[in-house]
Symmetry: C2
Subunit: 214 residues, 2 copies
Amino acid sequence: MTAHEPTRTGSQKTAIREENERLILRAAEDVFANYGYEGATTSRIARQAGIPKANLHYYFATKKDLYRRVIDNIFNIWLEAADSFDACDDPVEAITRYVDKKMDISRLNPKGSKVWANEIIQRAPIIQDYLETTLKAWTDSRAQVIQKWIDEGRISAINPHYLLYMIWATTQHYADFGHQIQTLNGNKDLSDEQYAQAKKDVTNIILRGIGAVH
Amino acid sequence: MTAHEPTRTGSQKTAIREENERLILRAAEDVFANYGYEGATTSRIARQAGIPKANLHYYFATKKDLYRRVIDNIFNIWLEAADSFDACDDPVEAITRYVDKKMDISRLNPKGSKVWANEIIQRAPIIQDYLETTLKAWTDSRAQVIQKWIDEGRISAINPHYLLYMIWATTQHYADFGHQIQTLNGNKDLSDEQYAQAKKDVTNIILRGIGAVH
DNA sequence: TTTTAAATTGACCAATTGGTCAAGAACAGG
DNA sequence: CCTGTTCTTGACCAATTGGTCAATTTAAAA
């Protein structure tokens, strides 16, 4: 709980608080993504949110608190996308949907993905508990689903974990390495058509690669 | 040129200088990878190299100089690996070799890969020129090779760039997200056997995915 | 209106940062 | 040996950092 959080019973937030937290979180995501955790300064986040630094610390006691909230957000977005994996039992459709959603997230929310990547690269100093609990549980459970597909002969025998890593790596690459992709694309962002094509190529390579389609 | 570099004609370095630069660069790679550019402190790098901070600044005038040298290293390592792409005209063999080498680098030199990833995530503030010159030239040239394979009907029609991104993303993931992989592997590093299997799965999925093997 | 709580803010602080400097130590060639 | 260069290092500095605080204003409740 934040030090300055109102002490009223219940956790209802004022409209002012709600709005300001939203502004701060949006600015924080941007600054953390572009400068890393240490490179991000609370005064820069405050400036970008359009408020004095002291006011930022009124809403978020420490930089770490703020950071954790930003990571929370992207992690929950991914978990929601992951539901598409469960929505159906057909490997082709499940993987197609999952890749589709993750590619969309990389396009619409690249900053969150970058903050996550940064955190993992630096060995998850803040959110190691997420990895060991929520992420591990989700991963192992979906690996079982994939293993079932293998046992049923619907896809070829590969290690389910390495398939998941491949999907994560490829889809998140379009967010995390978006700047490199943009540069190699003649300093232009991928157009809607290009992005759609990338999505199609990625999906096809994976589906054919695991023998789900021929 | 470094401010304190000896002014003698020719660029021959003392043995002492050679050795100390090596020590510092090794420590710098580690610290930059684990803390990011801003999070890394010159005093920490110096401590890890076993020398006083003032001595570090005798060899490398600024933190930025040091950082650029570290990035230079990993970039050259990758460029060498990329030669395997040219060594042979068969798509199966070329891609197999390239993936193999890149996976090896991810295992043997994960820190360099992490520093690079960090730099790209933060929009390449220091090494943008590399992306626009060397990397762009290399990429476009190899995309042509891949396009030729497509035209000859040896692999299916996909966008060569998106295939390259997929290879980069997947192989580098084993370095950049190594900590996540380790956590999901029960907090144990991938064994030699596991890593070999991952390499095999990655290679097979890609080769089958682009219709190079059946 | 009065009263109480929430929100705002400039001024401030201790700690840390990248980098400097001057004085000396070690080393090389003659 | 001597002489000039390379190397080493503790002490130091201006700038920046995350975070605090007390004083004030705004909003909500009674």
